[in-house]
């Protein structure tokens, strides 16, 4: 009985692992095959052919797409953290009237459906002359990352002991110095966590990137992959699409494996503790 339940447990673990990993594994296997090979199913990699990977960069400005994604995600993370840490200090450490209401309002923004702001955002980006530019995407993506950055950093900020800034204030430091000298170093781990989450959100963002860009050179990776077509509409270059998918997923998987604990901490801080 005990042995049986042990075996059942491990079968379940293996099944979950296979279910989670198989699509990515299959994408890798497919990315090494091309032409007529793709018309048959292969479960194991047969050879190591990188021609699809070369084709991704040949047929379209995929290098440019990746660079765009990095620029947008990097800027979104930097701005979110910069604004988020100062705002979180105010929300987490200073009592002022209307604080709870403001924090709830900011949390409410993170519940906004993206499509609810789509036409207004389209007009805003147009009137600022940012249509089909990266700054336009950076601005739009901040709507998705800034609210939860403030929220998660505030929960972290609250957990720091009360005595921390008292000594500094007694010595006559201004709040700005306290944030920079005392809290910035203390918040570094939390900033890494929220920064990672913001990076992943921006890296994966699709609706804004699809709607606010026009030319392939300005697209980020998700719309570039979604709109990838072959010579005809009915003949999708699956090998190339899989190669592109593997390329953009690998860095994210590396991040997840390295920062696993931090990501989980950030996800749960945003939802459970708050």
């Amino acid at each position: 009985m005990k042995v049986l339940s042990r075996i059942g447990f491990w079968l379940l673990v293996i099944a979950i692992g296979l279910f989670a990993l198989f699509p990515f594994y299959y994408a890798i296997v497919s990315s090494f095959r091309s032409g007529a090979e793709l018309f048959s199913v292969a479960y194991l990699p047969e050879r190591f052919d990188l021609s699809n990977y070369a084709a991704v960069f040949d047929r379209q400005p995929f290098g440019r797409n990746i660079l765009n994604s990095i620029i947008v995600a990097g800027a979104v993370v930097a701005v979110s953290l910069g604004l988020g840490i100062t705002a979180a200090y105010a929300f987490g450490r200073i009592a002022f009237r209307g604080r709870a209401l403001l924090l709830m309002t900011i949390l409410a923004v993170s519940m906004f459906p993206q499509v609810a702001v789509l036409s207004g955002m389209f007009e805003l980006i147009h009137s600022l002359g940012l249509y089909n530019t990266l700054p336009g995407l950076i601005l739009a993506n901040l709507m998705l990352t800034l609210p939860f950055t403030i929220w998660v950093l505030t929960t972290f900020m609250r957990e720091l002991p009360k005595e921390i800034e008292e000594a500094a204030f007694v010595d006559g430091a201004t709040p700005w110095i306290v944030v920079r000298r005392v809290f910035l170093p203390l918040m570094a781990p939390a900033a890494v966590t929220t920064g990672l989450l913001a990076f992943i959100v921006s890296w994966n963002e699709f609706l804004f990137a699809l709607t606010f860009t026009l030319t392939n050179e300005r697209r980020t990776v998700p719309p570039a992959i979604a709109l990838m077509t072959g010579s005809t509409a009915y003949e999708l270059p699956w090998g190339t699409i899989m190669a592109a998918s593997v390329i953009v997923t690998l860095p994210i998987i590396a991040l997840v494996l390295v920062f696993q604990r931090k990501i989980v901490a950030g996800l749960t801080a945003g939802a459970v503790k708050g």
Partner: protein
């Protein structure tokens, strides 16, 4: 969810009265200064666009020329021309998308909750390789939705797809299934991919709750010889219920907004179109900013209503049980 905000005690240094109040005042001033940039940006990129979207829903604006429009009242929602009712609320495609979205949300979140609990219970057990397992289940969550939709598109290909091949080999189906094109399977296919992608999120939130449970209850149950299944339903489930509800609400709000997955997996197919896909199609493909904004506004109202109900319920719960 709201507890930390409502009860947060902020350290105010206890010092001589006069100095304390001036210090407090300068800190409050600093607080507003620190918050101002974030508030201004959020007002600009969230508040203003939302207000404009709602305004556009009462106009006949066109995407090609957004500055030239007329106020037409509720005609985008419902209008009567010569005895014939027109507008969003009479469009069967809109109601179809509402139904699709609600069905998708109910089915996918239910499956994800059950599977999430199973995965969380497994990850809560001590076994060699637990850390690795936790990293593995994070991978589907981290893969961009667009990419996972394309990966599944390929796996579900009607002629060369690996899923059909597996099922044929196992003898479970007689002929290949056109997963995403067939109206009977299309929405189930979307649910399946969503379950694959978001169960990890659910599992991790539930796992966090499980790890906060006191161990001595389980010790007592074990000593008394209570069956593990009974322990789960009588002890574990009630204890993790608050966290479970938070996780379900988060997921449901996300599912109601679904766009990327459906757009890439099945394009603008009527069989699977969600509310967000419908709104974007009107707005961008048909250039009907007025009608699209009306749909967007309704989506916003539906989700806002749910958030308000949840927050109210949360407040009642906190009122009963002050932490």
């Amino acid at each position: 969810m709201t507890s930390a905000v409502a009860q947060g005690d902020v350290p105010v240094p206890r010092r001589v009265r006069g100095r304390r109040s001036s210090l407090t005042r300068s800190r409050v001033r600093a607080a507003w200064l620190f918050i101002a940039p974030s508030l201004i940006i959020l007002a600009l990129i969230a508040g203003w666009p939302l207000a404009r979207t709602i305004w556009f829903s009462f106009t006949d604006a066109d995407l090609n020329n957004l500055s030239d429009y007329e106020f037409i009242g509720f005609e985008n929602y419902l209008a009567n021309y010569d005895g014939e009712w027109l507008g969003l609320l009479t469009d069967p495609d809109w109601w179809r998308s509402v139904w699709n979205t609600v069905w998708f949300t109910l089915v996918s979140v239910s499956i994800e909750t059950v599977l999430g609990i199973v995965v969380a219970l497994i990850l809560n057990a001590a076994f060699p390789g637990r850390g690795l397992m936790r990293a593995i289940i994070l991978i589907p969550w981290a893969i961009p939705t667009v990419v996972s939709a394309r990966m599944w598109n390929w796996m579900l290909h009607d002629q060369f797809g690996v899923i059909n091949d597996m099922l044929l080999r196992l003898g479970l189906i007689a002929a290949p299934i056109t997963w995403t094109a067939n109206p009977d399977t299309a929405l189930w296919t979307v649910v399946m991919v969503d379950v694959w992608k978001t169960t990890p999120f659910m599992a991790l939130l539930i796992l966090a709750a499980l790890q906060m449970l006191p161990g001595d209850i389980y010790e007592a149950a074990r000593v008394d010889g209570v069956h593990p299944v009974r322990v789960f339903f009588r002890v574990t489930l009630p204890l993790i219920r608050p966290a479970l509800i938070v996780a379900i609400v988060f997921r449901a709000l996300d599912a109601l907004r679904v766009f990327d997955l459906i757009y890439v997996l099945t394009a603008n197919s009527r069989d699977t179109m969600s509310m967000s896909v419908y709104a974007r199609q009107q707005l961008v493909d048909f250039q009907e900013v007025g009608l699209g904004s009306a749909a967007s506004t309704l989506i916003f109202l539906i989700i806002a209503l749910l958030v308000v109900i949840t927050l109210a319920a949360g407040r009642v719960r906190l009122g009963e049980d002050p932490r």
